[in-house]
């Protein structure tokens, strides 16, 4: 009866061989192409550094004014603008300005990148059923796989620093924007689509003139979620060398500095609130005017 209580696992030697083989070939791959891949990410590195330098190097009143203006343009609401200013001042007073700017610049860059890739992928997911099924599976894996696991190969290939951190954040944060782009297109009223067909729209015309504009509120909800997920990734990303508020939290965990953890944690919450209020208010405003006022 022994076999009932011990799962019949693969032969340990086979398992060892598999592990050796996969690890060995990844290592060989890294050795052969690592440098090339790393240098191909150099432009990205430059962009990220640029964003960070702008955010941390600019005089703080200007940063506040710029963010408040963006908030006003997107939300047209005094409450949102005031909360943005309030949160930024509080972060500065608690001595976290530099770290917060690093975090904001990373999240901002990651979000732009996720939107630029995610919306086209969402359109593909919507249009091609076969490819879509494969993509759905990949998205499921991306959303449930613990981030630490895919951090390993990223670190092996690219080492430690901004770029691997950025890639990890994008991988973690991109699924909502893809999914909600697809959903938004699927939710477009059938009769409106029929009207588009009846008037002889080509596929391109239908996409640009009907489907995307009508899906925009849903896509905005996806962007909002993507931002939130990117923010929640900054602590994990700090483990592979991303600076900012996340790194402070990591230090606080390691050294049991409760107050430092709380301050930085609330700073992250504050930034999340800023981004959330701005993007939600923008989405709502768009829905009210049905998108056309902003085009």
């Amino acid at each position: 009866m022994d076999w009932l209580f011990r799962f019949p696992q693969l032969d340990p030697e086979v398992l060892l061989a598999i592990k050796r083989y996969v690890d060995g070939s990844l290592r060989a791959f890294t050795r052969a192409y690592g440098a090339a891949i790393e240098s191909s990410f150099f432009p990205l590195q430059r962009i990220l550094t640029f964003f960070e330098n702008v955010a941390t190097g600019a005089p703080w009143p200007i940063v506040i004014i710029v963010l408040a203006t963006i908030a006003w343009l997107c939300a047209r609401s005094r409450a949102v603008v005031l909360s943005v200013i309030g949160v930024l001042i509080a972060i500065g007073l608690f001595g976290l300005w530099q770290e917060a700017m690093k975090t904001i610049s990373l999240v901002f860059a990651a979000t732009i990148f996720a939107i630029a890739i995610g919306i086209p992928l969402g359109i593909i997911l919507n249009r091609f059923r076969r490819v879509g099924a494969v993509m759905q599976a990949i998205l499921d894996i991306m959303q449930t796989m613990p981030p630490f696991v895919y951090l390993i190969p990223v670190v092996m290939l690219l080492g430690i620093g901004r770029v691997p951190g950025f890639i990890a954040v994008v991988i973690y944060a991109i699924p909502p924007i893809i999914r909600l782009t697809d959903l938004g297109i699927r939710l477009v009223d059938k009769e409106v689509l029929e009207a588009a067909d009846a008037y002889g729209c080509s596929r391109q015309q239908k996409l640009w003139k009907v489907q995307l504009p009508l899906a925009l509120p849903t896509i905005m909800a996806g962007i909002n979620q993507t931002i939130m997920m990117a923010l929640s990734m900054v602590v994990i990303a700090s483990m592979i060398g991303v600076q900012g508020l996340g790194l402070n939290v990591l230090q606080a965990i390691a050294n049991q500095y409760f107050t430092q953890g709380i301050f930085n944690g609330f700073a992250i919450v504050g930034i999340a609130i800023i981004f959330d209020r701005i993007s939600q208010a923008y989405g709502r405003r768009m829905q009210k005017h049905r998108g056309s006022a902003d085009e």
Partner: protein, 357 residues
């Protein structure tokens, strides 16, 4: 309007109606429909097909000749296949077999590009729930069809403005659809369709979602427009009153098959079966029956002084005139004034009560 239509030789301005011939049209919903056409041709019924093969018979042996420049009404209850039928004319739905000839061209043979050009230039459609783009203003909705054909924007706006004005929406150009009432939204839908200046206007239960009074207004507007436009209008409805009021010709569908074709007088006076008789029973016949349908031949001894009424007068109007005059018989005269027959109050009463058997 742009030369975009050059390649298939469509007239550019004020294209009046094109004839539509539907021949042997069948539509079976569900996978591998081709296998079942033969069985349906040999008389398998809708319920039999559903029970035996789990396929839905959408259209069964449809043959209609829709005359150019007239209003063809297709009437039926829900599930009768009327919406399926209208979607075959611009091929929003693919048929299982049959042909649809518009101006000598079979719509069902068209390649994708040809079909797109056909839809852009020859047909325009009005939808039950309007099918407007909620993110665009009234103006931008009305120019939609022209924009798709890449008509120059300023020209498109001129055309659109004319039709917005014509359907009574002047001053609302910059509003959004959700700010308008249902009736006004459908005016936008109509203006969009008319801006396209297509020879065929497809109206899918266009007025069914509207309040009765507004519906009557919209019917009146359509009839007025049609006197000058002379488009081929295919109008779908489930409302017999609407069908009788608008239709130059009427087709009644049931379970995907044609039950009766004819003009309003045929349907009212000679219903093909009990199904139609039941429909017709509740209609105000006086409003739709015309004097020529019930008049008797001229009696030779007829005095010249009789009051004349013209062809096309409804029994309602004739009865009212008769009741207000001191005669019991009127002369029915043609449009040229020549007497064609005579009609008495008794004949009118007899015709009106005929339905109550």
């Amino acid at each position: 309007m742009a030369g975009a239509c050059r390649n298939i030789g469509v007239p550019l301005m004020n294209s009046s109606g094109a004839k539509i011939e539907i021949r042997d049209l069948y539509k079976i919903f569900g996978p591998t429909p081709d296998r079942y056409v033969e069985a349906v041709r040999n008389g398998m019924s809708k319920s039999e097909l559903a029970a035996k093969h789990n396929r839905i018979l959408g259209l069964n042996d449809i043959n209609i000749e829709m005359p150019a420049g007239k209003i063809q009404v297709v009437m039926g209850l829900s599930g009768s296949g009327k919406s399926t039928l209208i979607r075959h004319i611009n091929r929003l739905i693919e048929p299982t077999s049959g042909s649809i000839i518009v101006d000598g061209q079979n719509v069902l043979d068209m390649k994708e590009l040809e079909l797109r050009e056909f839809r852009r230039n020859k047909t325009a459609m009005v939808f039950q729930r309007f099918g407007l783009l909620p993110h665009r203003t009234v103006m931008d909705n009305v120019i939609f069809g022209l924009e798709i054909r890449s008509v120059e924007r300023s020209k498109a706006r001129d055309v659109a403005m004319r039709w917005i004005d014509r359907v009574g929406l002047r001053g609302f150009e910059q509003r959004y659809p959700h700010e308008l009432s249902g009736g006004m939204q459908q005016r936008v839908g109509l203006a969009r369709a008319l801006s396209n200046d297509a020879s065929i206007l497809l109206m899918d239960e266009a007025y069914s979602a509207l309040d009765p009074l507004i519906r009557t207004d919209m019917q009146t507007m359509l009839l007025e427009l049609q006197t000058e436009l002379k488009k081929t209008i295919v109008f779908i409805t489930h409302d017999l009153d609407e069908a009788l009021r608008l239709g130059d010709r009427i087709v009644i569908l049931r379970d995907g098959s044609i039950v009766q074709q004819g003009d309003s007088q045929d349907i009212l006076l000679r219903p093909a079966d009990n199904y139609i008789r039941r429909f017709v029973k509740d209609v105000n016949r006086a409003r739709f029956l015309k004097v020529e349908a019930v008049m008797s031949p001229l009696s030779s001894s007829e005095p010249k002084s009789l009051v004349r009424i013209t062809l096309g007068t409804t029994l309602e109007a004739a009865a009212k005139n008769l009741a207000n005059s001191d005669r019991d018989t009127f002369l029915v005269a043609g449009y040229d004034g020549r007497p064609l027959g005579e009609i008495s109050l008794r004949q009118i009463t007899a015709a009106l009560s005929a339905s109550d058997e």
